[in-house]
């Protein structure tokens, strides 16, 4: 599914968090939002998911204007930075949640839900842990459960807010490779937020540099690295290298 964003703006009080953003993401792309803390990345992602509403501008999913639709109608798979797992439910129930809240006439049977959840558990390499509760998992395991939960409803787009932000370097690298591989296999349109440029350049097809709520540059990783569009990007990229 393609995503198109036109002239999107959002202020909190009189503070412009997202300022006139235009962006087109093609079907199957993996795009990274890269920018310093407070630049508006999360806000932009939340607006796309329907968790926040823009003051002006439009969002199109495959050409359809979804700007006024609520998050539960848009059904964008969203992975929160802090996972937001349902702590009172087992891992199994967490992943099954999206399948259970479907209206009865469209809902899968109990057996089908079970098969679906177990196969997802297999995908994220956590088979056998379905009866645990989220507090009984490590950070990396929780992160993957959050993935599986979002994937269970077969979203047309995956939105990831700093998916590996809270993990240590080793787990981070492993999950990054896993995500890349997953994306290559499924070709699910994905947007992910990060302030780690190595992560952005390694995983994404294209990188969007955001600063002060505005897009500074959109380009392929090589392009952005070799030809930063302005001095902010130049300095920002130089910080880590």
């Amino acid at each position: 599914m393609s995503i198109e964003i036109t002239a999107l703006s959002k202020s909190f009080g009189d503070f412009p968090a997202v300022n006139n953003v235009n962006l087109k993401v093609e079907t199957g792309e993996m795009v990274a939002f890269l920018g310093p803390s407070g630049s508006g990345k999360t806000t932009l992602l939340r607006i796309i998911a329907g968790l926040e509403f823009a003051d002006s501008g439009n969002i199109f999913f495959s050409g359809e204007d979804v700007s006024e639709k609520s998050a539960n109608e848009r059904k964008a798979g969203f992975v929160f930075q802090s996972y937001a797992l349902f702590n009172h439910m087992t891992i199994f129930e967490n992943i099954a949640f999206g399948l259970r809240v479907v209206p009865r006439n469209k809902r899968l049977s109990k057996q089908e839900i079970r098969e679906c959840v177990l196969s997802l558990l297999d995908t994220i390499q956590l088979s056998g842990l379905e009866n645990r509760f989220p507090v009984q998992l490590s950070g990396g395991q929780r992160q993957r459960v959050a993935f599986a939960r979002a994937l269970a409803v077969k979203p047309r787009v995956l939105l990831l807010d700093e998916p590996f932000g809270a993990l240590d370097a080793k787990v981070r690298r492993e999950l990054r490779a896993w995500l890349s591989e997953f994306h290559n296999k499924t070709q699910l349109t994905s947007l992910f937020v990060t302030h780690d440029q190595e992560e952005a350049f390694e995983v994404a097809n294209r990188v969007v540099i955001i600063h002060n709520g505005t897009i500074q540059q959109i380009g392929y990783p090589d392009e952005v690295r070799s030809k930063p569009a302005n001095s902010f990007i130049h300095d920002f990229l130089a910080l880590d290298i």
Binding site: A71, K75, F86, N87, H88, G98, V135, Q136, L137, R149
Partner: protein, 313 residues
């Protein structure tokens, strides 16, 4: 997540905390004195009255005590109290959840005002609460003529008692939920939303399970007050024994009629209900901590066994 961090303290750290309490505490004699005063207060103002109530009830023997429960008026007052509680508690449960939800999940104009208004019954005398309904729905009240024209009786009848009781009890559920829901935030609800859940499904599957003990606690408080309310109800009830008397009103009636043993009997029944409420509350709290503890223990075990290393495989 504070509990999460606690887990990483070594098991011996409790003892250190203990020692700290001891080293910062007062000398022994002072501690004994303070505890003594508290105990004396407890006995004088709580335990003794309770004993006196039951003693008074049994004054004319156990047979007479039981005989009271065959009295039509007394039984009727119990029925009235039960009906009032059965209506006001569910009504306040709905209102409390709706109010807590609105106040913690949305930013709207008048939010602070609503928050203050929820507390109104706590800082206004219950008698005033009752009077307001008389002024609104009484014969000479604001809606009086219209109600009379349609032959609807609110004041001096059941509806008035229910309204007045609802007024005095409505802060309890909302008040016990708001801090809880504020602390928990709404990320889980947002996650449920992106998974396609409707508002009702989110309430049923996410919000309610997360707040159930606080909710239960609020319900218990609300119920205790609904059964025990005197002031507001005495204004709007016609106080006709066997018709519009609740248990507290019936106690007053019996007492004023010099039927002390009967008055104490109803009082004992009401106290017994309160004690049961207290017991339920304690069990609720105990269950809550037990569940928390179980979660912690499970977490501790899982950090010992091999699962985390499997995650990195």
């Amino acid at each position: 997540m504070a509990s999460f961090i606690d887990l990483h303290h070594p098991p011996g750290s409790d003892r250190r905390a203990d020692r700290m309490v001891r080293s910062t505490s007062e000398p022994l004699w002072l501690r004994r004195l303070l505890i003594g005063i508290v105990l004396a207060f407890f006995v004088l103002f709580l335990a003794l009255p309770l004993i006196v109530i039951f003693q008074g009830a049994l004054e004319k023997g156990f047979g007479y005590f039981l005989h009271n429960f065959t009295d039509h008026d007394i039984l009727h007052s119990m029925l009235v109290t039960l009906i009032v509680a059965l209506i006001t508690v569910p009504a306040n449960a709905l209102f409390g959840i709706a109010a807590a939800w609105a106040i913690t999940r949305f930013r709207f104009r008048g939010r602070q005002l609503l928050l203050a208004l929820i507390d109104l019954p706590l800082w206004v005398s219950p008698v005033i609460g009752g009077l307001v309904y008389v002024l609104l729905y009484g014969r000479r009240g604001y809606f009086g003529p219209w109600l009379q024209a349609h032959d609807i009786r609110i004041i001096f009848a059941m509806p008035g008692i229910v309204l007045a009781t609802t007024f005095v009890t409505f802060p309890f559920v909302a008040r016990s939920l708001i801090p809880l829901m504020q602390a928990q935030g709404c990320e889980e609800e947002e996650a449920a939303l992106t998974l396609g859940a409707s508002g009702f499904e989110i309430l049923r599957r996410i919000t309610l399970p997360k707040i159930r003990w606080g909710f239960f606690y609020g319900l218990i408080l609300c119920n205790a007050r609904a059964m025990g309310e005197f002031g507001a109800v005495s204004v709007v009830s016609a106080k006709i024994s066997g018709k519009t008397n609740t248990m507290p009103l019936e106690i007053e009636r019996l007492y004023n009629d010099y039927l002390f043993a009967s008055a104490f009997t109803v009082a004992a029944a009401l106290s017994l209900l309160s004690l049961i409420t207290l017991l339920l509350k304690t069990i609720a709290e105990w269950q809550n901590t037990r569940q928390l503890e179980a979660g912690r223990r499970a977490l501790l075990e899982s950090s010992i066994d091999t699962i985390p290393s499997k995650a990195n495989a």
